[in-house]
Amino acid sequence: MPDVSQLVRLLLVEHLPITLAVVLGLTAVYLLLPRPRGYPPLWGAAAGGAALLAGWFVIRTGALTPETLLFSIFSALAVVSGTLLITQRNPARAALAFALVVLSTCGLFLLLAAPFLMAATVIVYAGAIVVTFLFVIMLAQQEGLSSADQRSREPLLASLAGFLLLGTVLYALARSYQSPHLNDRLREVQQFQTRIQGLSRETALPDERSKQVVAELEKFLRTFRKGDPQKNIPSARILGGESGGDELADAVYEAQDVLEKQQFNLENNRPVQWDEVEQALAEVRRVGDRVVNRLGTFQPRDQTPLSGLSGPPPNRELRRDAAGRPELPAENVAYLGRSLFTDFLIAVELAGTLLLVATVGAIAIAGRRAEGPP
């Protein structure tokens, strides 16, 4: 039996933004779905806006960089136009909303370093498919809105199914990828770093402030490494888990080691070597970031039948950028091409054949005369 109180705590305290976003989104979509005597669209729009706001809390990074800004804009655009797509009564407008979804998705592709896919998607979807859809709509619905567009099939159950799925996925993602405790720890490490930067060059001899910082840092690092059962804080090894708990614990231990030396210096009235401390803390942060970025990923198999053109071998340590993300080759369009024509050659040929067959099939089907009533 699931523990109900724990469930409630999880839903309403720990993951409140997710719950709110899902419930509000459900309300919005349910209110907005077309039906003969619908609700005022303003209610739905209000609920949708609230859901978007809650969603922003779900994916908040806390920092405002060009990347996060662009990400927020594109994803908000994608979600809003997706909602429009499923709630618009007019299929032509729905098709335009779909074009918007595709365009914002393409923006996300760009952020994910996939320029070729961006271009291909824009051309294929926005350029070809949407236009064809518009043609069909023009052919089929010359007399305006049909009755089918004014009605929905089971709006409540459908939105319930969709948003239950979404909620489950979001909780799963949050549990797999979010690490609030580790983020807190790393943030504190950052704060200590700035404090140390303020200290280090002022005086070579230890003073009261230095002593205080060292004492606080020592306490923090001990808690970081061992955890605190009273406050329900797990140890560094558990925080890192499969994604590098051992490395993180080692880094923290190194930092503790360095700090112990400085404590010895302090007791002997020698100057504290803040550079070493800072370096150790930077190492902790680096390892911590890497752990955060690695959270929720599986270690790939050692042996894959793919060449080096599709990516580095799975057992090689990846080159990572400052944020801890793996680096892709700069000209990854070229690499994608090489990958396609080496590792995925048969798939490419098959895809081409499929396109040909689909062309023939589409012409054969669409060219047939109508058999039913005119």
Partner: protein
């Protein structure tokens, strides 16, 4: 000495082939159906010829090889059992292994527990005699039928069924083991059923067929139980091979078996015989069986099939020999049936029914002989009876043919001028049945039965008085037989000429194809008796005794064993003469009474019936046996059936309810199948969600 093995199988196979050919012909509507009698006639005559060949071969063997007899005789003279198994002379051949069952028993020194039953035919003297009788009478009746059944709608079907019957009957007498015998036994029962109900659109015929089938079925249950008892009981004694179902093995070990087992087995086998041979209390089906075509009555219900029971008991003589109690019961039932049927036959007005009751009565005689130990006499009577009873039935059929299917003796009379051939042949048959002394076959055979019964009453110590009573009853029955036979004769052929209107303007003698067999059978009815005119000669005794394993006449000390022991019984002429005198007196009284009452003083008969209303009604209504059955057997069964029906209704209701349940459930869920694609997709998505939620909740909490 020629081995009949190569052609033995043809005797049943030819009629079977004819039955298949004719049966297939009956399914078509080709014009060939008018010639459907040919395959049957050809097959029957070919079988008869082959049977004669078998008879000759067996006779040769029997004459040349007497070692078995002498062997047995020596063993009995010295008071020892034969050291090793000796089979009576005869041919046996296994054509095919019907089935083999059983696995070796667990253990090392135990023989395998299995039954090995083959399609094995045997030819010994008893079989040969039966074969000749069956195929001879069968051939004549098939020829007769070609005229009698002419123009009938089911002409081809009739001949197919008759050929099938000849197949089953010859197979029955040829079978070498009990199981095969049982199979053919049921085969003749089936043919009997089919042929009684030949005019199945007639309700009385359908009812008679059903009655015959069900009543004989009662006896058949006894027969199969007896076979099972023999198989299961015999293998308990040491030395008996476990696959023993063939006659020789069973008979060889019979003496070593417990007495109770033997008596029980014999009585169960006799049950089958009672059913098939229409003995009291299962005789009720035979008179009704006359609903079938008259040649069928002649062939199946007078000459051959009904004698299967007699054949079975005769075949099992080595068993019955060791069970005197069973023999006593056989004799008692036979004698009682003979008397009862004769009494009933006195007053019947239907010519065929008179003959049917006379058949029952004569079969009773045969069982009386078998029960008295005079097995050869019983078989002899079977042999002669086949001739004269077939003759009588065919003659009755000829009368029917001429009278437009009227069979009530009160409605015709004085036919001797209209039907001269029928008249003379009927007279031959009636004389044989009434046992007119010295010139008819019936006299010789019946007299042997009387003599055998008399002997039994003198030889048996404890129950001799029963045989004495039976002897007196059989004498009375002989008189009654003569009386009712000639009553029928006089009523039909004498008196003023009466022809029913159904006969039309010109009642005429039957065609040659019918009168020919009549003439042949009439000759047979006269001369068949000379097969064994005891005490002047005993050819049939010598012929049959090896097969029956009867105790042979004693041999003198030191006689050469390789020679045939001579029959050196002194003929007691005084006893024989007295017996003859008694039987002749009763027969003469019967014939004379019939002549007096039905020829000279016709009114006297009806006056007698009016003076003795109780007795007359009792006889006319067959001692109310059918009514007794209806009250004591049929009514309780019907009540039971009603109760069962109620139970069945309840059980069926429960079963139906169980069957309804899924349907109701389905009705509940039927609206879900509304054909809307989106509804299906929604159901899938929601179920997926339920599944995912269950998964995550159990994983996380």
């Amino acid at each position: 000495m020629s081995d009949p093995g190569p052609y033995l199988w043809l005797i049943p196979a030819l009629p079977l082939a004819a039955a298949i050919v004719t049966g297939l012909l009956a399914l078509t509507d080709s014009p060939l159906r008018r010639h459907a009698h040919w395959p049957c006639i050809v097959a029957a005559i070919a079988s008869f010829v082959l049977s004669v060949l078998v008879l000759r071969a067996v006779a040769e063997l029997s004459a040349s090889d007497r070692s078995w007899i002498t062997y047995r005789t020596l063993a009995e003279a010295t008071g020892t059992q034969p050291p090793e198994r000796a089979a009576p002379p005869g041919f046996r051949k296994t054509y095919y292994t019907w089935f083999e069952t059983g696995q070796p028993r667990l253990g090392f020194d135990l023989p395998p527990d299995q039954v090995n039953v083959g399609i094995t035919f045997r030819a010994d003297t008893l079989t040969a005699l039966m074969l000749v009788t069956v195929t001879f009478v069968g051939s004549l009746i098939v020829i007769y039928s070609a005229g009698y059944m002419h123009g009938d709608e089911g002409y081809a079907r009739y001949f197919a069924e008759v050929a099938l019957f000849i197949f089953a009957m010859t197979g029955l007498v040829l079978a070498d083991n009990f199981l095969l015998l049982y199979a053919f036994w049921e085969g003749v029962g089936l043919c009997s059923y089919l042929l009684i109900g030949f005019w199945y659109s007639k309700p009385s015929a359908a009812a008679a067929a059903r009655k015959a089938f069900l009543v004989t079925r009662l006896g058949d249950i006894g027969l199969i139980l007896g076979i099972i008892l023999i198989w299961a009981g015999f293998q308990k004694s040491p030395g008996v091979p476990l696959n023993a179902l063939d006659y020789d093995t069973i008979f060889h070990y019979a003496a070593a078996q417990p007495h109770g087992l033997l008596v029980a087995a014999c009585l169960l086998l006799f049950c089958g015989a009672v059913g098939k041979s229409a003995q009291f209390p299962l005789h009720v089906w035979l008179p009704d069986a006359m609903e079938g075509p008259t040649p069928v009555s002649a062939l199946i219900h007078a000459a051959t099939m009904v004698t299967a029971g007699v054949y079975l008991v005769a075949r099992c003589t080595p068993l019955f020999e060791h069970a005197p109690e069973a023999q006593l019961i056989v004799a008692g039932i036979g004698g009682f049936t003979a008397l009862l049927a004769a009494l009933i036959a006195l007053t019947q007005n239907d010519l065929k029914r008179v003959l049917a009751y006379s058949t029952v009565s004569q079969l009773g005689y045969m069982f009386l002989a078998l029960g008295s130990g005079a097995v050869v006499a019983g078989m002899f009577h079977l042999f002669t009876h086949a001739f004269f009873k077939a003759l009588l039935f065919l003659a009755a059929g000829s009368v029917m043919h001429a009278m437009g299917n009227v069979i009530d003796m009160r409605r015709f009379g004085g036919l001797r001028r209209v039907l001269p051939v029928t008249h003379w042949t009927f007279l031959c048959g009636a004389a044989a049945l009434a046992a007119v002394p010295f010139v008819t076959s019936g006299f010789w055979s019946k007299d042997e039965i009387l003599a055998g019964t008399f002997e039994a009453s003198r030889q048996r110590q404890s129950d001799g008085w029963v045989y004495a009573l039976l002897f007196i009853a059989s004498l009375v029955t002989a008189g009654l037989t003569a009386f009712y036979t000639f009553r029928a004769y006089f009523l039909t052929f004498w008196g003023e000429e009466k022809i029913p209107h159904e006969a039309g303007e010109h009642a005429h003698e039957s065609p040659l194809v019918m009168t020919g067999p009549l003439a042949v059978l009439a000759v047979g009815a006269i001369v068949a008796g000379f097969a064994n005119p005891a005490p002047f000669a005993h050819p049939l005794d010598d012929f049959l005794e090896p097969s029956l394993e009867l105790p042979p006449p004693p041999v003198e000390e030191g006689a050469a064993l390789t020679e045939r022991p001579a029959r050196h019984e002194e003929v007691n002429w005084l006893k024989t003469g007295l017996l003859w005198l008694g039987s002749i007196a009763f027969t003469a009284a019967g014939i004379g009474g019939a002549w007096w009452l039905y020829e000279r003083q016709r009114r006297l008969a009806s006056q007698l019936a009016a003076d003795l209303p109780g007795l007359y009604q009792l006889s006319l209504n067959k001692f109310y046996l059918d009514e007794l059955y209806a009250v004591f057997v049929v009514a309780p069964m019907e009540a039971l059936a009603q109760i069962s029906r109620v139970i069945d209704y309840v059980v069926d209701g429960v079963v139906d309810l169980v069957g309804r349940l899924p349907e109701l459930l389905g009705r509940l869920f039927r609206p879900m199948q509304n054909g809307l694609v989106q509804f299906y997709a929604l159901a899938m998505a929601l179920s997926l969600m339920v599944f995912l939620l269950a998964l995550t909740l159990t994983r996380w909490f």
